[in-house]
């Protein structure tokens, strides 16, 4: 079992609890021992990075420091935005001794541990789409998806800027497709799978965000997908919860169910409903459940 420090982020703690629950249930099946971090805060998303960037750096440094203090060399995230934020902060601290010194002095003075740069931040997606994690996933996904047609939606900040993320080709990513296939599903391709769902501006610029959001959902529908999967709970929230707004605005009722990555694998691995919590989704997962006769 690989021990990893587990940072769930805000949404998985609150409105997307189903993400946390399914991840925690799934983890041992794919060889991950999660050490949940409690002395942490919100990573700040793009918002604190934009409004108070020095604070953003410190909040993330603190998360990294507490992760390091668990003794793990890996900090696992389940959200694209957390991944980018933590990795960016990590690169800044690892690459500039003067900056690290200053931040550490501040951390220590408020009672947090110092950070020595020894943690690597990885999204759960990366841990299970390659290497040993992938092998374990294939074994674990014994129930399979019975050829269910799944449209992967990556979400911007797991791919770009590729200089900071670097896991795969940002224009031709394949990790979600690999997982879908390993789970016995059929991966659907469509152009908007790497485009933006609009979540960061869905409150401040709703019309603009909805014009972005409709693209992946409509394209996935037209390509014949049964459901979508995404590694980011923010994308999930807009794809799932805002479909009703799309219906209001355009009259189009897509009824496209959206799964968290951990739920998709969880289904294939035989997790039951108490661990998947499908009822929490706004667009019903019933058609998927029926197809799988779960």
């Amino acid at each position: 079992m690989k021990q990893v420090a587990y940072y769930k982020g805000c949404l998985a703690s609150l409105s997307a609890k189903e993400l946390d629950i399914s991840t925690q249930a799934l983890a041992p099946k794919v060889g991950l021992e999660l050490v949940e971090l409690e002395r942490v805060t919100c990573c700040g998303a793009g918002d604190i990075h934009e409004a108070e960037p020095d604070y953003y750096l410190h909040l993330n440094a603190r998360i990294l420091a507490y992760a390091e203090a668990t003794g793990s060399d890996t900090l696992m995230t389940v959200c694209n935005v957390c991944t980018l934020n933590l990795r960016q902060a990590n690169h800044q601290l690892q690459g500039d001794a003067g900056l690290l010194e200053r931040v550490n002095a501040n951390l220590v003075s408020v009672g947090a541990p110092a950070y020595s740069g020894g943690v690597d931040v990885k999204h759960f997606l990366w841990l299970v789409s390659a290497g040993e994690g992938y092998e374990l996933l294939r074994e674990a996904a014994h129930k399979g998806l019975k050829g269910l047609r799944i449209a992967p939606f990556y979400g911007c900040q797991i791919l770009r800027p590729s200089k900071l993320l670097g896991f795969e080709d940002p224009d031709k990513p394949e990790s979600l497709e690999r997982i879908i296939e390993a789970c016995g599903g059929e991966a659907i391709d469509y152009p908007a799978k790497i485009k933006c769902c609009g979540f960061p501006i869905i409150q401040a610029r709703e019309d603009v965000a909805l014009a972005e959001l409709i693209q992946p959902i409509e394209q996935a529908k037209e390509a014949g997908a049964d459901a979508m999967v995404t590694p980011c709970p923010l994308c999930h929230l807009s794809l799932d919860a805002w479909q009703s707004k799309l219906r209001e605005q355009t009259g189009k009722d897509f009824q496209m169910p959206v799964l968290h990555l951990s739920q998709l694998i969880g289904v294939a691995a035989g997790l039951d409903d108490s661990e998947l919590k499908f009822k929490r989704h706004l667009v019903s997962l019933d058609p998927v459940v029926e197809k799988l006769a779960v």
Binding site: S13, L14, S15, T41, H49, Y55, C156, K163
Partner: protein
Amino acid sequence: MQVALKIWRYDPIAGERALKEYEVSAPEEATLLDVLDIVKDQVDGSLAYRKSCRMMICGSCGMRMDGAAVLACKTRMYDVAQEGRVPVISAMGNLPVVKDLVVDMGPFWGKIRAVTPWLEPGYSDPGETEHVVSQERMDVIHKESLCIMCGCCVSECNSMEADPDFLGPAALAKGMRFVGDPRDQATVERLQSYSGEHGIWDCTRCYFCQERCPKGVDPRDAIAKLGAEAVSAGIDSDMGAKHAKWFVTSAKTTGWLRETELVPKTQGIAKSLKEVKFAMGLLRHGKVPPPFPPHVAKDVDEARALYDLVKEQGREGYEGIVQGEKALEQLELESESDGAGPRDPYGEGSFAVPYLPGENGDEEAE
């Protein structure tokens, strides 16, 4: 080597688009621009595209290869030819097409002009000689001043696709070039102007601009710097600014995001009340965490204290972003997967590397 391309042609007189395929023989070190030249010279003289310097400084040759904007003069064709791929070349996005690969840059320049893209020195008077400014202070706008106005960022901007009036990454990066310039005295007016409906807070943070920029300008970071300056200057009445500030408030009070209050804090009570039906839907599925009792992170007083400390130390506004740039510039591309790794759209060339006596071919480093 043999190189094949598919090019989206557009004939403005007939109003017709057509995908045409070409195959030519080109030297191994050829770039996409060289191949286009060979096609135009030897196959079809009517192919239209812009070019000038061929050394990635003039910004003329922006175009899309397989749907992603690149500089044609920087894009090597060696890998493409070796792998037998046939890329699709088309005009940049988000701008009207004039002919073939030529776009109308009028809207692009219109947005640049909208950000008052010249120094406003106000009443400052440096005297007869230069303003005295340290290199470190000028480095604040180092990346923004690299911009060659090629349009690759604008081509791929997801926000602009949904809102064509969005000022966009190039114009906002140009704006930051002045906001960060110590000799400019119009900072407040600029921030107010850039914080309008189609400004800073219209950016969807997709990072396509940052990914596509061939010069390392990092326009999204420039927009974030503007946001930081705007909030720091109290120019924060936009919903986007309020949204961002609530994250800060959340972090320094409860640690975790106070999701439920985010909506009224961003949009105001009146608008939030109109969303009641939507909110009910969310509530039924448990997506609206009750604001009481607040979900407080353990040892959150550390986060509170950090906020006070950070404020005291005063690295305000863009400084918080600029301070990390040195480390990020030196970042080596990491690859953690079994294969793909980060994208380099410009490819490897095929060059003979010269050796000096006593040195061998291992000299070349990546």
